[in-house]
């Protein structure tokens, strides 16, 4: 299974329940919600869709069947904006 990790060319600011992530290389800004920010904090170390889904279900008691699909889309977006890389 694919695993992902943060690109080191970023910095993040935390406001209320949102995170703003700046790619300091490309100078792009990405805003993510609280659960996205939770994932972002976990991505400091290598993660897969499954490890992230497991952590979210434990932290937020989410029972949504589409969580894995949502995570896949979320990680695709982070990849597109160069905020994460493949870890393997």
């Amino acid at each position: 299974m694919l695993s992902y990790i943060r690109n080191d060319k970023y910095d993040a600011a935390h406001f209320d329940n949102e995170w703003v992530i700046l790619n300091t290389d490309k100078f792009t800004v990405t805003k993510i919600n609280e659960i996205g920010g939770f994932c972002w904090s976990l991505l400091e170390q290598s993660q897969t869709v499954d490890t992230l889904a497991q952590a979210i279900r434990k932290e937020y008691e989410v029972m949504d069947d589409t969580l894995e699909e949502d995570l896949h889309n979320f990680l695709s977006d982070l990849l597109k904006f160069n905020l994460i890389d493949h870890a393997n």
Binding site: D11, F15, D16, E18, V20, F27, V29
Partner: protein
Amino acid sequence: MDKLHAKIGEHFIQVTSNPLSFATTLLEENHFLIPNHDALPHIIIHVEEGYGVAFVDYNVVVTNKQNKRYFHRADYLIETDEKYKTATIYAHDQLALKHALMNLYSSYIVSHKWGLLIHSSCVIENEKAHIFAGASGAGKSTAAKLSHPRLLLSDEATLVKVTHEEITVFDSPFRSELKSPGISKSYSLGSMHILHQALINTRVQLKQSNGFYFLLDKVFYWAHDPDETKNIVKLLESLLHNVPVYNLHFQKNNTFWELIS
């Protein structure tokens, strides 16, 4: 060579210039020159008149070579160390010199995590500073003029000191039309406004994250060093945690102050 001494924000600046009058004008007309003193300067600058051509555009090219950093625009060149403590500025004219000094000083305060130079005007009301920013032509200068007789801390580039506890604004020497009378005191920042000219006055607070989007584009900064960009993110984060940002739709008169005061 004769030395000029200036104080900008909390920083002592020592300036030599060839000719001396070239660097004197900008600092003297805004009352930023101070008497000779023994304190160690934070920044030492030498200025040379005569470089390049008159203003072409705002495009600045940044290069690094042998522990030196160079900021190159058609009408100025800055050669500085990587901490911006010692610099030589070559400038075509007074406009080029002003922009070069803004470039250098903004880089210094970001690098030393002291604060930010923000493209905006800033007005004092009831011992508090209030910032007005916006897209080009939105009304920064208009809002500043309509605020008369309130004192202005800036009409072009606002000098903001950022700490975790408090945000303060200092008088800015980087003026456009409205010269400084020489304001030695700093003021706590009460609010920031994004201007939109309108038929009625309204003021709506922005989410901090949206304020971040907006302000990131208003900081005088030339992206060249990821570490300095990270400093800006942290400074803006502290700024937005301490001070509210509003969308201000304002009529072209002074009644918008009723929403702020």
